[in-house]
Subunit: 113 residues, 2 copies
Amino acid sequence: MDSIFMKIIRREIPATIEYEDDEVIAIKDINPVAPVHILIIPKKFIPTVNDASEADAALLGKMILTAKKIAAEKGIAEDGYRLVMNVGKDGGQTVFHIHLHLIGGKKLAFETA
Amino acid sequence: MDSIFMKIIRREIPATIEYEDDEVIAIKDINPVAPVHILIIPKKFIPTVNDASEADAALLGKMILTAKKIAAEKGIAEDGYRLVMNVGKDGGQTVFHIHLHLIGGKKLAFETA
């Protein structure tokens, strides 16, 4: 069970790390769609949201709270931002290790579909 | 501290309820952007993600796991879907009571900004 994010966590490939603790790591998205575009990734390997279990509830919540913290540090908390998890093919998921997109620093389009 | 969602939870205004338990309620979005567009809402009133605290981690995670469960029930788990939380003005948040958009049932545009 491996992913490009596991390689980043193990420092086998480089990334711009914005935050890290025992449970999560946050890196800059290499193809940003907005001035702030950061991925919050659990260190536990979970391929998609479909593979998450009840036991992962606190970890999933922590991903959101980590995004909140980073948004504040980046100075975009008050203006606002968007949190996105893409799941599977129709959702546009490209790396099969769950991650939360933190997108902000500009006014985002109203709806997303 | 009130919101249109609190009124829905109290059955003061109607909504199409897709799921409900002690902690969360899920309703159809009245302006769907895709064949499946459901909002997962905590019964606890939290205006924005910026107002969530560490104590809310499990509840935030449960919102994601509830979306996962509904996606499976709607038959879109395998094809995929997107989970979105809009925060504040730049994020396009319109109801100031946190909610997670579950969007699916068609191939969604790749990136969102």
